[in-house]
């Protein structure tokens, strides 16, 4: 089985030039926001630390904090691997009664020509083990990716405090 099942409710795929995020997002009120440039391994540590610091305010369990840090690591790793540099934006948001954390990874790298393929299990060692983007998707509550060849990639993931 190579094709990773796609949970249509949990993810939307875009491969258009529209880099603007969906309007539904505007209903989320941003309580706090940090931007961390990613250019080296050391920056990944900073992003994880900031993410954990924000998430801990929402009362996430220790396991969830680990999963959030892991998602940040994987996204930042991808930036370094494919685009060399980029940024991670962390947001603490409120939507109605629920609060959550949004992690957005931006890069101006080569972009992903075939997004659904990038989300499949694939043959590479890390993807066949469920790491990388497909892994991030499974750790978080929501996952969205916008990518344009030659322009870059934006991956947005959210986790809501239960």
């Amino acid at each position: 089985m190579r094709r990773a099942p796609v949970d249509a409710e949990r993810q939307q795929l875009h491969s258009t030039t529209s880099l603007g995020l969906a309007s539904a997002r505007n209903r989320e009120r941003v309580l706090e926001e940090t931007c961390i440039p990613i250019q080296s391994d050391g920056d990944i540590v900073g992003a994880r630390q900031n993410g954990r610091g924000l998430a801990v305010q929402l009362g996430f369990s220790p396991s969830d904090l680990t999963l959030i840090a892991t998602a940040i690591s994987e996204l930042a790793r991808n930036i370094l691997l494919y685009a060399k540099r980029g940024k991670i934006i962390l947001k603490l948001v409120e939507q109605g009664e629920t609060r959550g954390i949004i992690v957005t990874a931006h890069d101006k790298g080569p972009g992903i020509p075939d997004i659904s393929r990038a989300l499949e299990a694939g043959f590479s060692t890390s993807r066949s083990l469920g790491l990388g983007l497909p892994g991030v998707r499974r750790l978080m509550d929501e996952f969205e990716i916008v990518s344009d060849v030659g322009l870059g990639t934006i991956v947005t993931v959210k986790k809501w405090a239960k």
């Binding site: 089985m1 094709r3 990773a4 099942p5 391994d41 050391g42 990944i44 540590v45 900073g46 994880r48 630390q49 954990r52 220790p62 396991s63 680990t66 999963l67 840090a69 892991t70 690591s73 299990a121 060692t125 890390s126 083990l129 469920g130 790491l131 497909p134 892994g135 499974r138 750790l139």
Partner: protein, 309 residues
């Protein structure tokens, strides 16, 4: 890639010590990267825990007070969790892959049902129309042609019989209409006729099981009987289906020549493939099969599938 346990162990130990000393995110990040590397190099969850135990053992020996030891164990747990996080991703991927395998099996079954229906009903109708046309032609033919026409009719009957047979093998309607045990009895009758095996089917109180479980068990028993008739040189087969609290159980035992279960997947014997198919079908439903066999002692498959609430 063969994991280098000594090197990974040394790195793990050093990074853990650093985390206990400074409590930094950098150390947690390194723990994550170490776990990720261990995973891609083929280390298992238990080996990761063994690395952790080993490192903790050394550290705890140096702790001056019980309080410091308690703190070290707690911090060590945080550190281990970061290291195991990539394994969590793999674990979740496995769950999804299994669900996908289940959906594929269900889709295949639907497809088999459709083809069986087409073969049986639509081809059957066409054949009936051919028979009618032949009857009309027969009236118009001089009598010497009618003998050859009779030959054609017999061939058509054979085709019809083969289509019926194929259609039942693809998807026995009896499984949908009457349930597992009657379908197994029907299957056993057919296999008996073809092979001379004496097959008994026991079980079931008439209650229907969930469709996916009935289908899976039917296919598994079908494959098992296939194996028995091809390899076992048996004379009798006993099939039992019963239900315990949360499990559906089924056994298929024969009095054949048996085999060494360990040789199953390595030998040139193609029996391994059939059993592999059985394992895959069951594991998609969280079930399992145990093979009880020895040369000269017959073979028993013990199958179980958990019932979902």
């Amino acid at each position: 890639m063969k994991p280098n346990l000594d090197e990974l162990g040394g790195l793990y130990s050093a990074t853990l010590e650093e985390y206990l000393l400074r409590g930094t995110e950098a150390a947690l990040h390194r723990s994550y990267e170490l776990g990720r590397r261990a995973l891609t190099e083929g280390l298992g969850v238990l080996e990761m825990i063994a690395l952790h135990q080993q490192a903790m053992g050394k550290i705890l020996l140096e702790m001056a007070t019980p309080e410091k030891s308690v703190e070290a164990v707690q911090k060590g747990g945080e550190f281990l969790a970061e290291g195991m996080s990539s394994f969590e991703m793999t674990h979740r991927a496995f769950g999804e892959a299994n669900a996908a395998l289940r959906r594929v099996n269900e889709a295949l079954e639907q497809e088999a049902k459709r083809i069986a229906h087409t073969l049986h009903d639509e081809a059957g109708q066409l054949l009936a129309a051919v028979h009618m046309t032949l009857n009309e032609v027969a009236c118009e033919l001089p009598s010497e042609g009618s003998g050859r026409l009779q030959g054609v009719r017999e061939l058509l009957d054979q085709i019809e019989e083969q289509l019926r047979h194929l259609s039942h093998e693809l998807r026995p309607t009896i499984l949908d209409d009457l349930g597992l045990v009657p379908a197994l009895e029907f299957l056993a009758e057919g296999v008996s006729r073809r092979t001379g095996l004496r097959i008994t089917v026991e079980g079931g109180n008439g209650n229907r099981l969930p469709g996916v479980i009935e289908t899976a068990l039917y296919r598994v028993v079908q494959e098992a009987l296939n194996n028995v008739s091809k390899h076992a040189r048996a004379t009798r087969v006993q099939i039992r289906v019963w239900r315990t609290d949360k499990l559906i159980r089924c056994s298929v035992s024969d009095d054949g020549r048996g085999f060494e279960p360990a040789s199953m997947l390595s030998g040139p014997d193609r029996r391994g493939l059939g059993l592999l198919g059985i394992c895959e079908r069951l594991s998609a439903l969280g079930g399992a099969v145990e093979i009880d066999s020895a040369p000269g002692r017959g073979t028993a498959l013990q199958i179980q599938i958990p019932m979902e609430d």
